[in-house]
Assembly symmetry: C2
């Protein structure tokens, strides 16, 4: 079986850690597997290179981003060569591959390129010779022969794309956590590690702030049915057996819980534009200028006031965008494109989401959420729902309380053995 | 006119220095020239990468050296991208080129590859668009598509090879010295900067320890008639005019001095194998095993003793090879392949060479050298000569005295103006 293993920057942070990674690769090789390894830059290297680039250039043209990519991609190239060196020193045939050598052909959007295709020929030959292929993550080559990068966290995407292209049996993503938990263990001490998570759930969890995997890589895994395992590069989990969390298709989860996990985000701010004249196109008049200014809007609620003449529009954005968003709205009003009575903003809000594919078949989950929060005296400011997720905006001060209460209410607490 | 500019690691050691380099490039561009820049890795980067590689691997196979090259070549790739970023930020169209992108096609000897050919197409198109080509030095790509490096100092070779391939009008090598001097200015304070040096003289000076340019790059310049200028990246020399030292053909030096410069080397040790049985093949019996053991032998003198039965063989080697060389000779004797009376070694010796193409036409230069040293009471231990060089081995304690005396005797002292 072909296994793709991906190791992040912390896992390859120095030569000792690269040796540790080489031992994990060796275990898979000795278990009789073909192995492809995808590596990130050593921790700190990418930041240093980005720092140099930003000191020298405003990075305000596509041409600048092309040279930026040439600089930044070298971090992964270094790790790929080093890991191949260590493997061979351990008697395991291996060779390093830069993205352009595979080649991984990407789009032309330097700094945030997308993988268009992977030519398998050269690496397949190497694998057939029994060599471990150590591929530099995060990078590709454009059709014009220039080095591209896939954007931050792109090594996850590289790993899943390679696993899909080469038909790998499993794509193991080694990180500094040992799996995906029902919620953040720093907040709920008896959070449980999940054995399996559906791709869709993982997408919601990743975008909701459970930063284990890049959203793009999860989408790609889902689209190509790549079995992804998230596990720790520091724990010594047995090879072959499942030590971390498996990302699988919804159908492959037989016993569906009502709720799989609870995600949260503190990076929230709320804006209410109240007393807006209610006419067709008023939403567009508010949100199009925000989008143009690069402000991502998340939750949106619009209420018509009792007299039916005007409306309140409330929405959430990233906290760092708050000042900018406010200015954009005021500017739009000053140009006469919208009219409103008042603008209210709040930065002390947070979002809690309960997530689970089980919602499709279990009823009453939203009601249970609202009841649980009400029992703790937590006021709900906004609600949005999808098929597998319910999110509420609350005051940030209540965030931990809300997460703990929901974690217990949905039966997610691990049974802690008494010592 | 196309100008190739090469900047070493100290010249691009941080972002401020890269900015300084960009200004030197800008001057050539604004003077109406096409410019190709060859850069080394930022000072310290290559050493760090080599350190990682050596920690992880004994580098004892060709395959290991291939991955080593992938690691180490990234240093120059980073600088090339960064300088291109800075140039464009200054409004000068530019782009970075890794060796494989040009491509510079090399031999398969990873770690010390030789340039086989340079495909000019892509870079020519870029130059024709008015772009500065910023090429990563020290590297190429093998026919198999793997990254290769040219060995230490290889960026000089990259620059000269590119200048030859593209027919550059001049190849400016910017270093931390401002030219080639009649001798080491740290020893002779009124050493003169040479305006022109013949390639052959430069080769002798480089191999004799005046470490300004890689020997290989000088050979290549000579073979392709590339006009090379050595100048300082820190002094603000006027562009177009000649601020450093020009390397030219011997015929292009009209007024030939008797002696152009004085080189020296402290890295010398002497071995005398005395009372060797004199029979055909005895020299081979001594020197072949030394060569096999990787010991480079420099000067060799063989004297037959008065009775004609046996002989003394004296030769010099690098000081660091002394212990090894002694063991090899003793081992050869223990195997019965040579027989000798005694083995004498000395590590406190040094070599002084006077160099000049003028020797071809001026007589008496050797005699003048011996007289000058004799007048200072300096004993000559060994002598070797070539058409344009006379080298003597002396006790190291007399080295500075010898250099100063010869510098004066050959009229090389600069006229120091009285302040």
């Amino acid at each position: 079986m072909l296994i793709v293993q991906k190791f992040g920057g912390t896992s390859v942070g120095d030569t000792d850690r690269i040796t540790n990674v080489a031992q994990k690769v060796a275990k898979e090789v000795h278990a009789g597997n073909q192995v492809m390894v995808v590596v990130s830059a050593m921790a700190g290297v990418t930041d240093r290179l980005v720092g140099y680039a930003r000191t020298l250039s405003a990075l305000d043209t596509p041409e600048a981003w092309a040279d930026y990519d040439m600089v930044v991609a070298s971090g992964e190239q270094i790790t790929a060569g080093l890991l191949a060196l260590k493997l061979r020193a351990m008697g395991i045939p291996a060779r390093g591959w830069a993205g352009w050598q595979v080649p991984i052909i990407s789009s032309e959007e330097h700094g945030k390129a997308r993988i268009n295709r992977i030519d398998k020929g050269a690496v397949s030959e190497s694998l057939a010779l029994g060599e471990v292929a150590v591929v530099a993550g995060f990078q590709g080559m454009t059709e014009k022969g220039r080095i591209s990068t896939l954007g931050r966290g792109g090594s996850d995407t590289s790993a899943v794309a390679l696993a899909a292209a080469f038909g790998a049996g499993r794509c193991d993503i080694y990180t500094d956590v040992d799996g995906v938990y029902t919620t953040d263990p720093r907040i709920v001490r008896n959070a449980k590690k999940l054995e399996k998570v559906a791709y869709e759930e993982m997408l919601e969890m990743a975008s909701q702030g459970a930063k284990v995997l890049q959203t793009r890589s999860v989408e790609m895994a889902m689209n190509h049915n790549v079995v992804v395992q998230v596990l720790s590069s520091f724990a010594d989990s047995p090879i072959g057996s499942i030590g971390g969390t498996l990302l699988v298709r919804e159908e492959d989860i037989v016993e569906k819980e009502r709720v799989t996990g609870i995600a949260y985000s503190r990076d929230e701010a709320r804006i209410t534009v109240s007393g807006v004249q209610d006419r067709p196109g008023v939403s567009a008049a508010i949100f199009v200028p925000l989008a143009k200014a690069g402000v991502n809007v998340d939750m949106i609620v619009q209420n018509v006031t009792p007299d039916g003449k005007d409306t309140d529009v409330t929405f959430t954005i990233s906290r760092s965008d708050l000042d900018n968003a406010k200015k954009v709205i005021e500017h739009t009003a000053s140009e006469g494109k919208i009219a409103y009575r008042a603008l209210h903003t709040a930065a002390d809000v947070a979002k809690v989401s309960v997530i689970g594919v089980g919602m499709r078949s279990h009823a009453g989950i939203a009601g249970e959420m609202f009841t649980t929060l009400a029992e703790k005296g937590i006021n709900i400011l906004l609600i949005t729902t999808s098929e597998i997720k319910i999110s509420v905006l609350i005051e940030e001060a209540y965030l931990e309380l809300a997460i703990r209460a929901l974690h217990t209410a949905y039966g997610l607490d691990a049974v802690v053995e008494k010592g």
